[in-house]
Amino acid sequence: MELILIFISASLINNFVLTYFLGICPFVGVSNKTENALNMGFATTFVMTLTAAATWPIYNYVLVKFNVPFLQYVAFIIIIAALVQFVEMYIRKASPSLYRALGIFLPLITTNCAVLGLALFMVMREYSFLESIVFGFATGVGFTLAIVMMSGIREELEFADIPKHFQGISITLIIAGMMALAFMGFAGLIRG
């Protein structure tokens, strides 16, 4: 039950992109085509789940045990960068077709603030190991949902007559604002 609540909360109610503003760079940068958005979403979900699984034991068994939790930012960013590198190397060897689809997005994920944000929130909320993995996966699903919806709207926008100065980034963010308003409706699903 607890796990289902975490899943719904992280993917819909507290969607990382639309309520915490994490991962805005890929959200704006890669959302012009639905296909790219979907691949970016899958790659991010994969890395997020792995990040949750890797940072939890290191924080709880290494940093806390040796009494150096203030090193967490340095430790987390190194873990994430290394993880992304390994995932990239593994996919390139194991599945070249998947690599062609995801390849260019993988390095971008290192600088996706949603991944580091995930690790920080996980520590702050004191999740257990299982909860962390569900949280990481749900956050990825929420990110995929937001970016795919955005790309669908932007594909339609190509035929729309937008005032000159609002084109590009500006209209994208205003639409994101409206999506955030719509997502606020999910807040009634659970309390807290």
Partner: protein, 209 residues
């Protein structure tokens, strides 16, 4: 040296104004600007990390080999962010609490790594200092403007001082995430409009000459 120090400083204030022109560092710009004080505090924390990390990177740029430069820069930045975070928590606990996880997230603020890649690794200390100060001050101004607009519309106050009377019905939406996106989208359009007017004026001035 191609450009003067004054030019390196000034370009950050308009030509390369970080959030609106370079579209970098959006995450803190949108997240912490629900009041003018938070925007200003975030800007100050960022400029500290930006300035010190880029000076350090500029100092060690010849000893770090190209293949490992990104991890090396990230470790430098993460260390300085830890310093800023602990300092804020000790001296201004209230601000530190309201900014929450967004202080550690300065680590992945693309402005800092972006400036390190684009500028500090190719230039000596003085131009780097001018460049980062310009970009940092531009960032502080942008965040404070965003914070002020949202605070006036959402609470009717500036820096916590009540500005509008009882008749004002606050627009709660401006404090919420949706308001951040709307205000930022509007400001980007405004910046586009001003710069296209400037370009038109320059073009017509050149024509008449």
């Amino acid at each position: 040296m191609a450009n003067s120090l004054g030019y390196e400083f000034k370009k950050g204030l308009w030509q390369e104004l970080p959030p609106f022109r370079l579209v970098l560092g959006l995450c803190p710009t949108l997240a912490v600007t629900n009041s003018a004080v938070n925007g200003l505090a975030m800007g100050l924390a960022t400029i500290f990390v930006l300035f010190t990390s880029n000076i350090l990177i500029s100092l060690v740029r010849k000893t770090i080999s190209a293949q490992v430069r990104i991890p090396a820069y990230v470790v430098i930045i993460a260390t300085l962010v830890t310093v800023a975070d602990l300092f804020l928590a000790a001296v201004f606990p209230d601000i530190s609490k309201s900014l929450g996880p967004y202080i550690p997230l300065i680590v992945v603020n693309c402005i800092i790594l972006g400036r390190a890649e684009a500028f500090a690794q190719k230039n000596s200390i003085l131009p780097t200092a001018a460049d980062t100060l310009g970009i940092g001050i531009g960032f502080i101004i942008s965040l404070t403007i965003m914070g002020t607009i949202r605070e006036v519309l959402g609470f009717g106050s500036i820096f916590g001082v009540k500005l509008l009377g009882e008749w004002f019905e606050p627009w709660i939406v401006m404090i919420l995430p949706a308001g951040a996106f709307l205000v930022f989208g509007g400001l980007v359009a405004l910046v586009n409009w001003i710069s296209s007017r400037k370009a038109e004026k320059a073009a017509s001035a050149a024509m008449s000459r």
